[in-house]
């Protein structure tokens, strides 16, 4: 069954298309990452899914229902981001108790153990926490709610690297024990890649791809070699990224649809073939120009 289904989903703010004819379906009980540059439309998509905002056009179903202002969706979904507005009149322990009353599957003992592990002061208010600590608390809040659909919008903002690693591990462990659908939006794909099953790449409100991580790892390859040699070999291929190295050499990223013979041929002619990490791939695919930042400096 699909947890999230969108068809031709469009959201405009004024004239700007935050989401443009966006169609995806996310199966249940998977960990999916939503990747995109700043302003790509990640948060817009997640807020529509969470039922916080209404789409301009198109169709959107969460648990086969329209999520906007929907109590059933709200009870089975939690949206965690870094602008969570929690009351200053309650301390962290009290907030967890409130959450425990609201969410049927909330695991209060686990939440308390996690709070102690990350040494968050139980009697502090949410407002008095530092940025990273706030994110840590929000993460615990989201994780322990055990909602059928758990959405984290850039959950690691401000967390140090140790906490981030712990977070990924906690997420994975809890997911294995209580499988549920988890959607994460993040900039740090490399850190996340080991716990992910699927990746959705979005750019300027458009879907670039929605792929299992395994396919993503072999989606593209990098080639490095002499200019003429490369041009001759890959003249008909789709170039994702191009960078000049020195005067004679070029580094190319192309879609990996080469046959075995072609690969052998490349190797024989002295061209270096490298794998492309999913993170680099996403950066290349969403770049404004084929040459990246270098193009800006090469104008003059």
């Amino acid at each position: 069954m699909n947890v999230i289904e969108t068809r031709q989903l469009t959201k405009t703010y004024g004239r700007k298309h935050a989401l443009n004819q966006f169609s995806i379906s996310v199966e249940e009980k998977k960990i999916t990452a939503l990747i995109g540059r700043n302003g790509a439309g990640k948060t817009t998509l997640l807020k529509l899914i969470s039922g916080f905002d209404r789409q301009t056009s198109g169709e959107l179903k969460v648990f086969s229902e329209k999520p906007y202002n929907n109590l059933k969706v709200s009870a089975n979904m939690i949206f965690i981001d870094d602008n969570m507005n929690l009351p200053s009149s309650l301390n962290l322990s009290q907030l967890l108790i409130v959450a425990n009353n609201f969410y049927d599957k909330f695991d209060l003992p686990l939440a308390e153990r996690l709070i102690d592990y990350f040494s968050l002061p139980r009697t502090a208010t949410h407002q008095s926490l530092s940025k990273g600590m706030k994110s840590t608390f929000n993460m615990i809040f989201g994780l322990c709610s055990r909602c059928a659909l758990t959405i984290f919008d850039e959950p690691t903002t401000g967390m140090d690297s140790a906490v981030r690693k712990d977070f990924y591990r906690a997420l994975l462990k809890d997911y294995i024990e209580h499988p549920r659908s988890i959607v994460l939006s993040s900039h740090l794909l490399n850190e996340l890649i080991d716990i992910l099953e699927e990746v959705i790449l979005i750019n300027k409100g458009n879907l670039i791809f929605h792929l299992p991580v395994e396919e993503l790892k072999s989606y593209a390859i990098g080639l490095e070699g002499e200019n003429e040699l490369l041009e001759e070999l890959i003249h008909s291929k789709e170039i994702i990224y191009k960078q000049h190295i020195g005067v004679k050499n070029t580094y190319l990223v192309i879609k990996n649809d080469l046959t075995k013979q072609e690969l052998v041929k490349l190797g024989d002619s002295g061209i270096k073939v490298t794998a492309i990490s999913p993170d680099d791939l996403c950066v290349h695919l969403t770049a404004e120009t084929k040459g990246g930042i270098d193009d800006v400096f090469n104008q003059g």
Binding site: V3, K47, D53, F63, N69, L71, K72, S74, V98, F102
Partner: protein, 249 residues
């Protein structure tokens, strides 16, 4: 997939309990507002002059908790506006909610603070007298004792007045959330009418109209009916209008 079933009333109840705790700031402001009102009424609401003869003078000071009540009504009005602001509305959406449950739990909260406000305001009636006794050197304090039925009608109408102010504030708050202009236009019209009314006709049409409906009603049941009808209209308008707002950005 196993999904949690939602019980509409249970969600409202949960939200209501949560709001009673998390909106704790409103109790502090109630105490402040009532203390100020009590201090202001220590001097007595009105004085009746000294009939004096060779042997004695009489000076009568009348004490009432009317000022405390008026202040409490303003407090309910302001608190209701406050809970319609973005920060408070968004808070609800950290937990299980939709707009109806959010509005319903707000209404229950306003009713509860109406009861609390009415209770403490009524109690201030006694505090007022004790302070007067301590501050001034009075010989007699005369007060009326009410029958149980009178006390109950008195208390419930106090609750209703405060709740009505809350409902009015809630509607104004929702209007301001829809368009900030309402925040300037409505008070300006209201206060403007008061001034113009006072200087041209010696009375304000709005105030006359409102007091004609609510404060001069002789029958208690008719009064209750009128207030309940007004409450329903005000809250229905607020709920309908709040549907125009985005849920959360």
């Amino acid at each position: 997939m196993y999904l949690t079933k939602v019980n509409f009333w249970k969600v409202i109840f949960n939200q209501y309990c949560y709001k009673l705790k998390s909106y704790a700031g409103s109790y502090t402001s109630l105490v402040m507002v009532q203390l100020i009102a009590i201090l202001l009424s220590v001097g007595g609401m009105s004085h009746m002059g000294g009939g004096s003869s060779e042997r004695f003078d009489i000076e009568v000071s009348i004490y009432s908790h009317a000022l405390v009540l008026i202040f409490t009504m303003f407090w309910a009005f302001a608190t209701a506006i406050l809970i319609t602001t973005k920060a408070y509305r968004y808070e609800d959406f950290n937990f299980v909610t939709n707009r109806i449950t959010s509005n319903m739990s707000n209404i229950l909260f306003l009713l509860t603070i109406g009861i609390i406000g009415a209770f403490t305001a009524s109690m201030s009636f006694y505090l007022n007298k004790i302070i007067a006794l301590l501050v001034y050197d009075y010989d007699y304090i005369i007060y009326t004792t009410n029958s149980l039925a009178e006390t109950i009608t008195g208390f419930s109408s106090t609750v209703l007045y405060i709740f009505l102010c809350g409902a009015l504030g809630y509607l104004l708050g929702v209007l301001v959330q829809i368009n900030r202009l309402f925040g300037f236009v409505i008070p300006a019209l209201f206060i403007g009418e008061l001034f113009i009314g006072a200087s041209w006709y010696d009375y304000s049409a709005i105030v006359n109209w409102i007091s004609g409906i609510y404060t001069t009603e002789a029958s208690f049941f008719l009064f209750v009916f009128k207030v309940l009808a007004s409450l329903i209209i005000l809250f229905l308008a607020s709920i309908t209008l709040s549907n125009r707002l985005e849920v959360r950005r």
